[in-house]
Symmetry: C2
Subunit: 446 residues, 2 copies
């Protein structure tokens, strides 16, 4: 009898697992249950779809259920898994279109339920015009609201990656924006001095940035009209709640699948959970952080793809392992690029490291080349061992992929001195003779 | 008595050595003899100065002799060192302005005489309008000729980095160009299939590329008029000979300073030569190649700066070592970026490696983002050990600094499988979720 694989969640991790399982073992029966109306989409593209830079929101979909069907993968959208029975090896599923429920049997189960946008329990949070951004449906709803209502003013609650990407997207539609952030800085993954450059760019783009301000509630009538925070009223024709994400791990927890210290599903390097024949991957799962040596939860599309592929290969009879993450992230904020990998100084101190840091500002191209821009670099390394713990870069060009050198050095567990020895590419249009990262690393060497 | 340091050659290596020696030991007497009229320039900027993208050729000069004088570094331009006497610890120097000769004494000698453009002994090679590009004077002469004579047609002999950069520079002045290359491809550091993309870009830009063609001579009257090659006559109002560089090691050889297998000065990781208190750095010196484990000669500004700094620190009483190179190069060819690090397939085979290769074409940004471009990637790795030996990338964007990830992996001596595990930055405007390098590395894993 053919082995039956059930995958819960048809995002990047789930569909990567499905595709890799299919290639590894052509005999498998593979079925994917997806609660939303879409599978296999790049959620990171939503801000650009809302901005209008991508013609249709649906263009971020990589492959449709019909395309997966040709590979012998049955992807059922608008099907919600209600419960997992690990002993009976079944799942209870509701067809959201018909309301019908069914029980399905599995030999291998892959948990790729992803994450969910946090929705703070604020008064007025369910008013029309108030959105989170997580699903294709969310993106369609925001784009529809923007195009139909042409909001003059908007409030974004939360200055993390998604909040700032959406600021760029909504500003492109002429929405006058206020960003309200509870913490005293934007992009909490960056140290404050780097985040300051990002804040300056937002303000240069006429975005009103309000830090250290807690939202007390939202008010309106048939739609949202204002946001109340710190005793002030911020008029708003659209509100985005971008206060963070959390792993969608309730189904796992209820089934006795162990969660890790981060609240996401604990997995080993083969993407196994604590239960036999049950795998997890993507935003619902933890990942081994190579810098701290501990499990971390850094929900990103890259990790989701890699973990899904690993799970798919292993459940198909292969022997793949996922090497872990170093926590590399990059974001475009209007004309600025902000990137980091590893631990910020603040995070490293919170993790208990004795740290030293070095900061430099250097040019993106040779100093005599027109168009060169400043790149701000900060490196964080451990006292004594001098091991690199993290790096951050902010600038108008040449930042996004430059951070990959930091990622490689962190992957290697190198010291800041080893980083300084790298033979990095140089030509005047692309870099000064001393790459900004080498400038910073050399400062650490003194 | 204060120790006296004599540095022969005021390019990037020489002036880096001078500046670092000064910082390491404020008591040193430091004198630099430079044959040309300029010190401390970035030769890599010349093509952009000729193009006109940089306002004045002199803008590529980082610091003037007057600025060095304030640091207590005496930099004498138009002073040619004629001979070194290692036993007497002297140099014989000619002041090219006055013709006077003098003998100077040194306690530490730094050889940074750089490289020289090869000048094939062709008939007509000394006609006005025939140039090489190596010094500020060369760059001024080419720019002057272009601006005054407004040449309609030009021939570039040699399709290496400098030849192709000059093609872009001259085309910007409306010069109709032919590039004549003896080898069957452009950019011999790339494998032919990657070089083919560069050739296609040149042809797209209306450059006539003639491969496998040997130049037989040049002809003209009061100036160059044509280039003779393969029985054809190529009309030319300007000719650039860009057939390669060689180390300027004659002075060293005559003084008994040992050269290595490449013909450049042999140095250890402290930039010591075989003679006590004699150091060498930059284009005149070899470097340890971390991939082959053998000495190599890859004359580049980055290495010159690093080696000069190392020599300067050590002669000042420090203990610095230069970690070697992996051979990272990048070039802009009109709208294309071409980069490589480590060994090409051809070079790896010539070095005796049993190699496997993998090639991929992937997008520079997420597939749904406007403006995304194809990036062609080739990885070369060793059979059995699967150690990465080299990588090449060609594309219209996102290539120049992406190659640094290859450089880091080569620095680490990693396998292609380790490369595939890197946690590289992803956001739709900057990369697909699988970075092109990861796409290629994953193909190697199958």
């Amino acid at each position: 009898m053919r082995k039956r694989v059930v995958i819960i969640g048809g995002g990047a991790a789930g569909m990567s697992a499905a595709a890799k399982a299919r290639r590894t073992d052509p005999e498998l029966e593979i079925v994917v249950y997806e609660r939303s109306g879409y599978v296999s989409y790049g959620a990171c593209g939503f801000p650009y779809a809302i901005k209008g830079e991508i013609a249709r929101v649906e263009d971020v979909v990589v492959r449709t259920p019909e395309q997966f069907a040709k590979q012998g993968i049955k992807a059922l959208v608008r099907h919600e898994v209600l419960a997992i029975d690990p002993a009976a090896r079944t799942v209870r599923v509701r067809d959201l279109a018909s309301g019908a429920e069914l029980t399905d049997q599995w030999d291998e189960l892959v948990l790729t339920t992803g994450g969910a946008a946090s929705r703070p329990p604020l008064a007025g949070a369910d008013l029309p015009g108030v959105f989170v951004l997580r699903s294709v449906e969310d993106a369609l709803a925001i784009r529809g609201w923007v195009e139909e209502r042409q909001p003059a003013r908007g409030v974004i609650i939360g200055a993390g990656y998604i909040g700032l990407e959406l600021a760029e997207a909504l500003a492109a539609h002429g929405v006058a924006l206020t960003i309200i952030e509870r913490l005293p800085q934007v992009l909490p993954n960056l140290d404050p001095e780097l985040a300051g450059h990002v804040q300056a760019e937002l303000e240069r783009q006429q975005v009103d940035v309000r830090l250290g301000l807690a939202v007390e509630g939202l008010a309106g009538d048939e739609r949202v009209r204002e946001v109340l925070a710190g005793g002030e009223r911020f008029p708003a024709d659209i509100v985005i709640m971008a206060v963070g994400v959390k792993p969608s791990a309730e189904l796992a927890r209820a089934a006795g699948i162990a969660l890790g210290p981060t609240g996401a599903v604990a997995v080993d390097d083969h993407q196994r959970t604590n239960l036999p024949n049950v795998w997890a991957a993507g935003d619902v799962a933890e990942a081994h952080h190579r810098v701290t040596g501990r499990p971390a939860w850094v929900p990103l599309g890259t990790t989701a793809n890699k973990q899904g592929k690993t799970a798919g290969e292993n459940l198909g009879g292969g022997d793949a392992s996922f090497g872990g993450i170093v926590g590399t992230v990059v974001v475009k904020v209007f004309d600025l690029e902000a990137a980091s990998s590893g631990l910020s100084e603040a995070r490293a101190r919170a993790e208990g490291y004795a740290v030293e840091t070095v900061a430099a500002t250097a040019s993106s191209r040779a100093h005599y080349m027109p168009g060169h821009q400043q790149i701000h670099v900060k490196l964080v390394y451990e006292q004594g061992s001098r091991r690199l713990l993290g790096g951050q870069l902010v600038g108008r060009e040449g930042v996004a992929k430059r951070v990959d050198v930091i990622a490689a050095a962190l992957h290697g567990g190198w010291s800041v001195d080893e980083l300084a020895e790298l033979d990095l590419a140089y030509a005047p249009p692309f870099s000064p003779v001393w790459d900004p990262i080498l400038v910073a690393a050399n400062l650490a060497r003194r």
